[in-house]
Symmetry: C2
Subunit: 100 residues, 2 copies
Amino acid sequence: MVFANAGTLGAVPGKRDALVAHLTQRSGVLSEVGCLAYEVGTNDAEPDTVFVIELWRSADAHQESLRMPEVQASIAAARPLLSGEFGGFQFEVAGSPLRD
Amino acid sequence: MVFANAGTLGAVPGKRDALVAHLTQRSGVLSEVGCLAYEVGTNDAEPDTVFVIELWRSADAHQESLRMPEVQASIAAARPLLSGEFGGFQFEVAGSPLRD
């Protein structure tokens, strides 16, 4: 079942755009492990937050990605940009009005 | 710029699955007005909540959809299933690690 993650990542003040640049660096391994979509963005009403929505082939694929050396290295590299505040929600996809 | 909405919709107790069925009814008008993705689902850790993530061609396309008679009728039909609690966040998409 497709797994969705919608998350907010607090950025160190002034580092939001650097965090966006980091998170949008082209990655081949994500789709290999089952990432179907990974959109990163901002909302100027919350200037120290980066927003992501992700779709994965399954919750297991998402967990597997977090164990990959490339992903662990990317998370470590992002750490100086992160305030430590995280939010959002996760769910299993039941369907879409855009398809039968 | 692509616009993203990640939302939580509180359901009247016992009506979550009916709300999911309603929100996943096939709709042709959404993609016509610029809806790129609309995923609906659940998380059994929050049994009275329905989760959605949406991508739209632009924030204007999303606003335009809310003015369409078909969409207004759908919202009216969903009302008896909704508890009135809403949450989530919206953002402008800056990019994705899955594409250049």
